[in-house]
């Protein structure tokens, strides 16, 4: 499955708008059949979110964003580079 880096911008700062565990659970539930949210990085001021997803296509990323009412600044197709587990 291709992997994508999704950048999101929140001009007024991101607010989960509820209990974080519950919000994440709902997002996972809504994404269930189409994309896999791996993890995210949130800037200290909460204005930028960088999320890593597995998805079949960029369109699937956009659909998931729309379903969850999240903005998309850019989508980049990426591969993993893990410095500790490089194959010789």
């Amino acid at each position: 499955m291709p992997r994508y880096l999704v950048e999101r911008a929140f001009h007024d700062g991101w607010d989960a708008g509820g209990d974080l565990t519950e919000v994440c659970r709902q997002i996972l539930e809504r994404n269930r059949d189409e994309v896999t949210w791996l993890h995210s990085y949130v800037s200290d001021d909460c204005k930028r979110l960088v999320c890593v997803y597995e998805a079949p296509s960029p369109e699937a990323i956009r659909r998931s964003a729309a379903r969850n009412n999240l903005p998309v600044e850019s989508i980049t197709s990426v591969r993993v580079l893990d410095p500790y587990h490089l194959k010789r």
Binding site: A66, P71, S77
Partner: protein, 877 residues
Amino acid sequence: MAFTIQATGPTGELLERSAQLDALGEAFASAREDGRGRLVLISGEAGVGKSALMRAFCEDRAESVRVLWGACDSLFTPRPLGPFVDVAALTGGALDEVVHRDAKPYDVAGALIRELGARAPTILVLDDLHWADEATLDVLTLLGRRIDGVDSTVVVAAYRDDELDVGHPLRVVVGELARAEGTSRLLVEPLSPKGVAVLAEFMGVEARELYRRTEGNPFYVTEVLGAGGEAIPPTIRDAVLARAGRLSLHARRLLEAAAIVPTGCEHWLLEQLEPEEMGHLTECLASGVLADDGMTVRFRHELAQLALEETIGPRRRLLLHRAALDALSKRPERELDPARIAHHAEGAGDVEAVLRFAPLAGDRAASAGAHREAAGQYGRALRFAESLSDVARAELFERRSYECYLTDESSEAIEAISSALDLYRSAGDRLNEGKALRWLSYILWCPGRTEESRRAGWEAVQLLEPLPPGRELAMAYSNLAHLYLAACRGGEGVKWAQRALELARSVGDVETEAHALASIGIVEFDAGGKEKIEESLELADRAGFGEQAARAFDLLAEVPVETRAHDEARRYLDQGIEYCSIRGIELLRLYLLANRARLELQEGRWEEAADTASAVIRIPRTSTSPRITTLSVLARVRARRGDPEVMELLDEASLLAERTDELPRLGAVAIARAEAFWLAGDHEAVLDSTSAAFELSKELRTPWFCGELACWRRRAGAEEPVPLKVAKPYALEIESQWEQAATLWSSLGSPYEAALALAHSDEPAALRHALEQLNGMGARPAAAIVARKLRERGERSLPRGPRPATRENAAGLTTRQQEVLALMAQGLRNAEIAERLVVSQKTVDHHVSAILRKLLVRTRGEAAARAFELGLLAQDR
């Protein structure tokens, strides 16, 4: 065929299946509640207990509702419509009549839907779909597309997902159906260690080892328990054989006889195969290897049958097949089943019987729409055809070629017709040689082998012209016309189409008449040609030539798509897609969908354009034209939104397009490339990727292609003469009349094109307006270009891009769905909405149910309320 696997606990209920049973029950309950049918697709590995699950579901309800059960056979070439023949035997009536008169899948689906609706509530079970013949899959597709209109019915369809390779036709069907309204999927998983432990304890076996070996496969588990030995056999096959090994030699001989009959073996047949051993049937039944429904004995599971069949020695196998052949071919005429007989004839190595029954089975499968099976039967006959005359073999090859073409086995189809061609040639049969050449030309064109296709097309005409004029020549003329039109050479195309038309009319060939008439119509579209295509449509539809009628719809839509007459294009596309959908005309449906994707892109409906294009791309047909179109559309949507994986799509499209050497293909890819490169700021690449297509479009004088290509080249800095005859909005852009161009684009309903035209202006106000428009559409790359241009001109305080979390998209509604929702909230009926938006009511119905689903509501009123709550509608409307 997979009989109940008894992975039941001590109290007799199915182990670990209550969640699945609940899901099935819920689907059925909601179908009864709202009167809209449901389809549940059940998948799981072989032996996991799909049939057992469905049986349990049905048993709980059999008293209060009607249960219909049909299964597919594991014959090498299954009976066409197998499961529906089973079902029809239960229902009788019109459905029974239809399945026995070689009706088309469209008719079968219609009769089935009427039958289901007439006696609701009904549970319809379709088992073992991984073996389904093509006609069955077509019926399933048609049923699935209309399931929400079938009152109080649940259709439960099961298949093995571990046996579907990538190209399996069922994959495509499941892929499409899974997205349809009213469809859900259910996965049946192996038993957990805990479940296996319950059974092991019940039978006194070591649980952990049993789980490790069987991985929780219920059939394997019950086989091991049934064999009852100390050691656990290492494979399912060994477990089956160990179990059978406990039977007497006589009983085993009877088992072997039953194992060579793939559909289940009738008592009378078994008796003829092993008359001596019939007394041991009770022993086989008692052991649980066979099951008996009073008429037919079957293996409890197909895995057991296969395992046993493999152990039969070659000599004995041959004798058993011979006995089966003998018994089956002596049945009364009405009961003769050529597919079954051909199977045993091949097993018995009986050349004469294969040559007699395989073509018959092929014809029957073909007329039922089971084209893959038909091709298989003709292929079977050809393997035994050495003794036949050249012409007789050529005919078989010809029939096989046609069936392969219909199932999109393009290279097989070409190979078969080439063999036929050689045989006709050596037999000196020039009429049939010419006819075969015409066919070869057409099937070479579909996968984009244009050069060879043209050569064969010309040869066909040259060969047939000296012969007395007839249908073959008319078709050859019409084929040439089609080849010219596909390359945008309308002048020559019309000439050949005229000849085809005259000849077709004089010999009374309606199909070619419709084909030629539509070809003439597309060239003279604005000068009365449209009416000719409509006439062709009517002619073809009335005479039952669905493919020709569908082609007419596509041509009727194609010109308005190109000239941006969007309302007209949408009307024909809606009608055409509906026409193909309910009749199962798949290839032309893809052409129409590809044109719809273009339309949606031009209208700035990117979400929809990407959806439509992806749906076409997912279907692995070898016909290149719709694929090239949709790859280009999807690439342009991605480029406009700044999304990745644009060039990958265009590289594939380009590879396909170059071989065709046809402007519509080459132009689509060149334009998509130009747009992507321009957005990336690589102007040199824009010029490089468009030069060949631009030259060709000038030579062919095609105003829209030429205009669009010229425009992109100017945007990339080319200073070159542009032909006079280019389409109006492009002409305005080329004359640097940016605002006029933008106004015209807006009035044509193309907002992105309008914004791009303004983006080339030098007026800060126009640029600001373009920036605002582009931001509103989420067109980041183009917006960035305009913003830079503004900053270079010293403009400050520019808007910073699209509003975060665009409100209008809150529930994931497309722009079209929002429009529909707004009208719904005003209390308009679907028919009124359809009129307002110039779409068919069917389309509105689909939008409305998608809206209800996305908003998680059940009624229109609730939808409106929820929409206000979410801020999807402006309060002041």
